[in-house]
Symmetry: C2
Subunit: 341 residues, 2 copies
């Protein structure tokens, strides 16, 4: 197998990561190979387990797959420092090493977020001008999508950090949404300049004086309206907002089920509504948004949700594929110089 | 009219506040008088406008209403400091003065939140042991309700502030939900003790050593699960979480409408589902949760949503009524001593 084909996109997958390991990663890998003709994959992990899951693979799929054996697995609750120190042959670490060694254009892991960020930062290093990497994810909006960062990597941020997040988010949203100058907003508790804490006020000034398409402060409800492409915030606020979103969605779907389960008439109405409800559910299906980008590194690292199923994990692979095709880290590197004051 | 009837609960309403002023406040006042036999109201504002809206009132309602004329109105976008300095005869200020002077047991305003908080703090002062008042609101959960504070009064908080919020929230949740020892959680980005910023880590220690029924760190999705009664956070995070909730709810209802509007079959299904959808909507109806408590003051001040309708504003009056009946500020005062280290 020729892994060095210059037209191919090579992605390393942490086959052991996440709640389900190879039983989700391998089916996702196979379906991704069908979706992307130019995709090649390196499956990193216990080779016996991986080969077992590959029994259903076709000859064409197998031709585009390489297996890299590794002996360790990072546990989902393992402290990042411990994983970094004692799991040098983990499937996660080896997958990141592939990116470092230019054997892969990107890697994807559903493993422990803290360990993934710590390892990626240690192995790949940050881009010049980036103090801290950030986690970016896509959220559904009434019109299009919103990109939001940081979602939890940095609980305390300076105005400079937020400014760097804005540059990175702008590049990523431009690539993923295919727009020239993404609208960037800074998350705050009001839209007036006097609102907010000192950090957001300082970041607001940096952004106003930048070449970014900065639209000013936005509030929590603006995340979902579609009038802003990139929402910038510190990792504490971003993580709370993201998990709040999940909680509200779960609450509403719970109430919805209850409402259709009240009596025989509402049950019949619910049955007749199945096509509409199915369409509705697919629009808010979080699996369609799986795949968070660890931005600011000298390489592409995508974090899949730990509990992702194969459909969902395949979405994270597609994101890695797109970022690799567009060379997102190089684009960020180029834009940092343009956007820095 | 005897406003000093010791069994009556007297509430002062800022009749001019909010987006709609007397046209919402007066109908809400009249329906509240029907709901609560022991309720008496002081309507504060332009007496001519108020009397005009009172034309529909019954003799019994009029018997329980007093009008207090005031000449000024705080604008919805007026800077709090300006309102405090130059609007000494505003309907908002005069309503708060009524509480200060023990002429009312509580006041309700749909006016400018910043001005209401600044004025209430200036006129009423904080309780001993409370550095800063906080805004508490009720949110729907899969089981019961969740109380959350601070929702925007304090963008920067110390661990001591968060601890005080926990005491106040615990007292309020106990009263409103009628439970003995409300479960208190501290909002963080993970449930492990190593997670979070320095402020939440310190607050966590204070809470662990307190007599509160503290359950530890909670995350954004826990707000809606019903396993925690009081969620404590700083005003920046709380405000973002609250507005994110509103944004997600709006997004989901938008998708829901689209799903039932696709074609004639989904429209028929939607029509047949009306009873179920109506029930569903009433469960997540934000009007049922209108009324935020400004806690930590030497008096009861309830903030209604600025855009509230009469149904919604009446809910805020009911909350003021309940807090007055239970003497929430006195309860907080008593608990502060018990819970402080």
């Amino acid at each position: 197998m020729d892994v060095n084909d210059s037209m191919a996109t090579m992605i390393a997958l942490d086959a052991m990561g996440g709640d389900h390991g190879p039983s989700v990663v391998i089916p996702a890998a196979l379906s991704s190979l069908n979706q992307h003709d130019d995709l090649k994959l390196i499956l990193v992990g216990d080779s016996a387990r991986i080969e077992q899951e590959l029994k259903a693979a076709t000859a064409d799929q197998l031709r585009r797959i390489e297996i890299q054996h590794s002996t360790q697995v990072v546990a989902m609750d393992e402290p990042p420092a411990q994983a970094l120190r004692s799991k040098k042959d983990s499937s996660m670490r080896v997958a990141i090493n592939m990116v470092k060694d230019n054997r892969a254009d990107a890697c994807v892991s559903a493993g422990n977020t803290g360990a993934l960020m710590a390892t990626a930062r240690y192995v790949l290093h940050t881009l010049l001008g980036i103090d801290r990497p950030a986690i970016n994810s896509t959220l559904p909006a009434i019109k299009g999508h919103t990109h939001m960062l940081d979602l939890g990597a940095n609980v305390d941020c300076s105005a400079d950090n937020l400014f760097q997040f804005a540059v990175m988010g702008s590049v990523l949203a431009g690539v993923v949404e295919d727009i020239a100058e993404p609208k960037v907003g800074l998350l705050n508790v009001g839209s007036e300049a006097i609102k907010g804490n000192e950090v957001v006020k300082s970041a607001n000034k940096l952004l106003e004086n930048s070449a970014l398409n900065y639209i000013g402060f936005v509030e929590g409800d603006d995340i979902f309206c579609g009038d802003v492409d990139v929402v910038v915030c510190d990792g504490f606020v971003g993580n709370v907002a993201l998990k709040t979103t999940e909680g509200v969605a779960r609450l509403i779907s719970n109430y919805g089920r209850q409402a259709f389960n009240q009596n025989i008439f509402t049950k019949i109405a619910g049955f007749l509504s199945l096509p509409a409800l199915k369409n509705f559910k697919s629009q808010i299906d979080p699996r369609r948004y799986n795949g968070a980008s660890l931005l600011g590194l000298r390489g592409i690292v995508i974090k899949s949700h730990g509990g992702a199923d194969a459909f969902s994990f395949a979405h994270a692979i597609s994101l890695a594929h797109l970022e690799a095709k567009k060379s997102v880290p190089t684009l960020i590197d180029n834009q940092l110089e343009r956007f820095l004051l």
